[in-house]
Amino acid sequence: MTARRVSRQQVRADDECTVSDIRIGTDGRVHVFGTSREILEALAAIGVRGDAVRLRLAGASVTIGDDHSPSSAPATRTPDNQPS
């Protein structure tokens, strides 16, 4: 397989890479599937409630085994009924 063919294949699998799915419930909750850092930053900028965004923006400094307190009711859910 040539490098060019590999590159073309990757673009195919990447088609959905540039799209995130955001749904807003009638109760105001925001559901995000496929969250990028830019989306988290946008949600943080508009001031969504809860810890979900803040924890994930800080995620790079957290490691397995670190303790987290239970978060208060977040207004943002990321992600949702994601497949296994």
């Binding site: 397989m1 590999v6 590159s7 294949q9 990757q10 195919r12 699998a13 990447d14 088609d15 959905e16 890479c17 749904r23 419930g25 109760d27 909750r29 559901h31 995000v32 599937f33 496929g34 969250t35 990028s36 850092r37 989306i39 988290l40 979900a52 924890l55 994930r56 923006l57 800080a58 995620g59 790079a60 957290v62 490691t63 397995i64 085994g65 670190d66 303790d67 987290h68 307190s69 239970p70 978060s71 208060s72 009711a73 977040p74 859910r77 990321t78 992600p79 949702d80 009924n81 994601q82 497949p83 296994s84």
Partner: protein, 275 residues
Amino acid sequence: MPSVSTATRAAQAADHDRQCLLCEHRCGVNRSAGELGRCKAGTEARIFRHRVEHGEEPQLVPSHLFYLSGCDLRCAFCIAEEKAFDPRIGTLLDAPFLQQAIVWGRERGARNLQWVGGEPTIHIPAILRALSGCRDTPPIVWKSDFHATPEALELLRGVVDIHVADFKFGNDACAERIAGVPRYVEIVERNLLLARESADLIVRHLLLPGHFECCFLPVARWLAEHLPEIPFSIRDGYLPRWQARHHDDLANPLPSDIGPLARREAAMLGLNVVG
């Protein structure tokens, strides 16, 4: 860094191409000869999406997720819909593709490579073949329904760094009705204890509307008794998708008060709630 050669594991996994016993359906089909079991998967695996995401548990992000088509379960609420159930969808997974994708993900800050689905378990041989042909692989995260056989989990020992287990149902009746799988609870509980011996473990539970008493509480209580220290990720963003409209209990979003209620209950049980 995995301590066992993925090439060694790939060679061991090849047995399942000829007699597949990777998940607890234990179909025993010869996938190399074109026979199809419950998941309909052949010997090739396909990726229908891969990207660096920030919505996983805070311990994992940014994570490079590889979505494999095909699954051994048939959860009515699956957000991947037909992509999860048709293993013919997507780009062929092989070492050149994976190597280039790993570089791509690392350039975008990914801390790990995460196999999701569908269900990665049904593609263990193909995944190990692809990994064995790659250099400088990042830590491996295995996001699974945990309906694997012990034989399949053994193939992942020394290869997988972190298991993320979806503990979906707290009783067999709900699992049978919603996902079409028998003996669910005993299989998942057994596998959680096995996986804990070989890698880090995160248990995830998606709260389903109307399933607090029958599913969330039994899951939380079992974890409190057997694995209280492991990170427990409570997901409260359920939206009705796929075939959920055919189930009265799954046809609506999760009420907004259930997530906080579940977190309080889990904290009272002494669980290590994350994210």
